[in-house]
Symmetry: C2
Subunit: 504 residues, 2 copies
């Protein structure tokens, strides 16, 4: 153990993966369940998901999408309609084969009544939604068809990690149909940009937008775009994807329509999704050695008030003072919702209570005892500062400052994460430099990872070698203003910049 | 065919079950999917579910509950923990037995990698949630534990019907743990009352609150309470249930705690749920021979504006007038949300467009053409009145009246449904009268069903006979002020009033 005490043990620099588990445990966000690979999302974690849903759902609707719901099960014959698709998902499916249980001769409960055709629990819904779309789309007047689904999906996971890789997870999947390739491509990039904005403005997580190389493409897609964030161990996290599916799924499901000239033509489709993985990304971007740190715009609770109640004679008055303050704060609108305030009146030691909220990442803490009350003051702690950096403020002053404080914290977190990322971006101009940059790091559980930028002409053999030898992948060919130049592997001229990294 | 044309064919009095399917189809609420027993909920139907969720979720939170999420899968060993429970659900389970697919010698996709222990897709979550609760509850300080989950569940259904009985459906399941029996019983009835309020105040569906008899109890419950509505064919629909589970599931999952006296004691639990079935209930309570009729408080769209655009020279002006009116209406808050307004600018015949919104059940329709515009007026149709009963109003008058109009429609629907129910309630004082009341109705697809009230001392044999001979069940022993008296079957004195009916 170190001589500096932290609320989370081990610290990030001691054992990053274990630190991650302990942050989640200390904040009561989620835990492993007795069902292999499936997590339980506890109220504090689920409240984060609800906030993510609230913001994204409003954006999806503002961009013309409507929610709908499609079956959990996908018959094997549907999965098989798109060859690349079935190959991509066959290895990690939950397969339903029976529809009844019975007790056998030994008294054991066993599956009974086999299904004529087995089904998988949806790993994603292109094929079943495509079937419905083929019924709904008849004419150009039915297009664009812009649908989103909030749902659970299952991809069997041999090495599960809370929020990052679980056999079951929650997500949204957008599925759209368009009359032209241009419109479908535009939609793909529009939703990618929505994801980038959300990551930056709400999760306070800077991300690169880019296109995946062929070997990292969604099974069945023509082009897969992604947002990639950098975690505090320097590893990449793919935080959202948007796929231009071309006419592959339209052909597989026969989504065709009568165009304005009266011709029957195939449609163009897209799909795009983000999941509870975003919560893992948020944790690994902001949490510190004292636990979770929440961006205020997504925090289930903005402010916790901790009344200091150890003197019997002042107890009632302090409580009353705190409750009145909470009410006044709840009347303040910030970022489109009322301030969320909790008054912690639980029994127990004051110090333990304060630490429980630090570990939960609440942006602002107010400790209020008899003396604060006498001075009409509050004792304020900010989660983005050290836990000892507290100060006394007049009550009125605090009330006036709250919105600015929350905005400042939100901006601070983004600035900090951006600076962290910038310091760990390097550009290399040769294969040797790239190999050097990743030498000996994997498995060290260090915080030494980085994103390496280099010009790269796509080559599946190179990517296989990097993955095998270094556990490094091409995260994306970033969109935007990145220089083109000679490929560091092949020397091919005019190759785009790619981002190489280890990843979750 | 009749000589009176209706938008829905057949009419309710011709073929009630087929009418129900046609209302759903005409309103584009949902449809059968190629996955046996599973429905697709289309955007208009899903928007209703979103509104149901929005209102109920706020009420659950206001009564102290928090949302969380638990695994989709339940290992067979968990299901077996409560004997009555497993027996109740074993016959209708989707069983997951493999976690991979592979291609066999004939090129066919087949299940591979069998699981060590098969799992069912949750039909309900008492056992898996109980396991987690047993970890979370240690001391009386952890109680009450008040959790809700919004989720999909699967109960294999041989004769599915959209919204009413589908193999997969969406629901919420509340699960709570309490220190005492009294608190658990109080919670059970509190949530039942929330359901009654929601059904009455939002769905405009009058319901009886009552307790189920033993033969209709939730598998593993000590007492099951329900709300029961009457559909327009006089049949009952169980629209929500709340279960006092006693210590049955606490014992099965070992949910125990250290009480204030330092003793280890078993806790008391409850569970309660409503599902997408509520949408079926709403349809069958209010829809008419022209299609869906939506209670304004749950309508995805309150007002549709239909610009009359057939003259090229006035087209632009009429559109502008309609768009401006829509904007003005959207600035009005009603029932805690902004008015939801659509302007229907689709191509196509005006009449077809009007009828499409009638069939979708939108409360208010405004037709606006050049002449209306010149007079600064709107031509108003109300969905709760006949489609010919329309009137012209000055624009300003309409704007001022909108909130009152919507309230009036909401109240009208409840009053109408209540009157319908009252007219079909009869009280009998002998078995012969009860048999007479249900004679020859089942299968007649008529609207002649009714609720029969009679004093009844619980007897499983009587209930089996009624079910077998008449397809009639005891819907509940209603709560409230119902007379006690001699049982019509056994003559036992001081028996409570029960409600007998055919049911969905």
């Amino acid at each position: 153990m170190s001589n500096q005490n932290t609320a989370i043990s081990p610290r990030r620099d001691e054992n990053y993966p274990e630190w991650y588990q302990q942050v989640i445990r200390a904040a009561e966000l989620a835990e492993n369940s007795p069902v292999r690979g499936c997590m339980v999302i506890r109220p504090w974690g689920y409240a984060l998901w609800e906030n993510i849903q609230r913001v994204l759902d409003a954006r999806f609707k503002a961009t013309g999408h409507k929610n709908a719901y499609f079956p959990l099960f996908i018959p094997l014959s549907f999965l098989q309609k798109e060859a690349a698709h079935v190959e991509g998902f066959a290895k990690e499916c939950a397969v339903v084969t029976h529809h009844r249980l019975e007790v056998d001769a030994t008294g054991k409960l066993v599956p009974a009544s086999p299904l004529e055709e087995p089904m998988v629990v949806r790993p994603t819904s292109e094929t079943i939604i495509g079937e419905m779309f083929s019924r709904w789309v008849q004419s150009y007047r039915d297009l664009p068809l812009l649908i989103n689904q909030w749902a659970n999906v299952v991809r069997w996971e041999m090495r599960p990690r809370l929020f990052l890789r679980t056999s079951e997870f929650l997500w949204q999947e957008g599925h759209t149909v368009h009359a032209t390739e241009a419109e479908a491509r535009e939609e793909t990039l529009r939703m990618l940009e929505e994801y980038r904005r959300f990551a930056t403005e709400y999760l306070a997580m800077p991300v690169f937008e880019g296109e995946k190389t062929a070997s990292e493409r969604f099974p069945g897609a023509v082009a897969t775009y992604c947002i990639e964030g950098m975690m505090q161990d320097g590893k990449a996290l793919q935080a959202g994807t948007s796929h231009f599916l071309g006419q592959n799924f339209a052909a597989a499901s026969n989504i065709s329509f009568l165009d304005q000239q009266g011709n029957h033509v195939l449609a163009w489709t897209t799909s795009w999704g983000v999941s509870t993985r975003l919560i893992g990304g948020m944790i690994m971007t902001h949490a510190d050695d004292d636990g979770l740190v929440l961006p205020p715009r997504l925090a289930p609770t903005h402010i916790v008030i901790l009344p200091v109640l150890h003197k019997e004679e002042t107890k009632a008055k302090v409580l009353e003072y705190c409750t009145a303050l909470a009410e006044e704060l709840r009347a303040v609108q910030w970022d489109g919702r009322p301030l969320q305030v909790e008054v912690d009146t639980r029994e127990g030691r004051g110090g333990d209570k304060v630490w429980s909220w630090i570990k939960k990442g609440v942006p602002l803490r107010l400790e209020i005892g008899p003396r604060d009350m006498e001075q009409d003051a509050v004792f304020l702690g900010r989660r983005d500062l050290g836990h000892k950096e507290r100060r006394s403020l007049k009550r009125a002053e605090f009330l006036a400052e709250v919105p600015r404080l929350l905005e400042e914290i939100q901006a601070n977190l983004l600035a900090r994460a951006t600076a962290y990322r910038e310091a760990r971006l390097i550009r290399v101009s040769s294969e040797a430099e790239l190999l050097e940059a990743f030498k000996g790091e994997e498995g060290e559980e260090s915080t030494k990872g980085r994103f390496v930028l280099a010009n790269y002409a796509e080559d599946r053999a190179v990517e296989e070698r990097l993955r095998r030898d270094l556990a490094v992948t091409v995260r994306c060919i970033p969109l935007g203003d990145f220089p083109r130049g000679a490929c560091i592997f092949s020397g091919h001229k005019d190759a785009p910049t790619a981002i190489f990294a280890r990843a979750y």
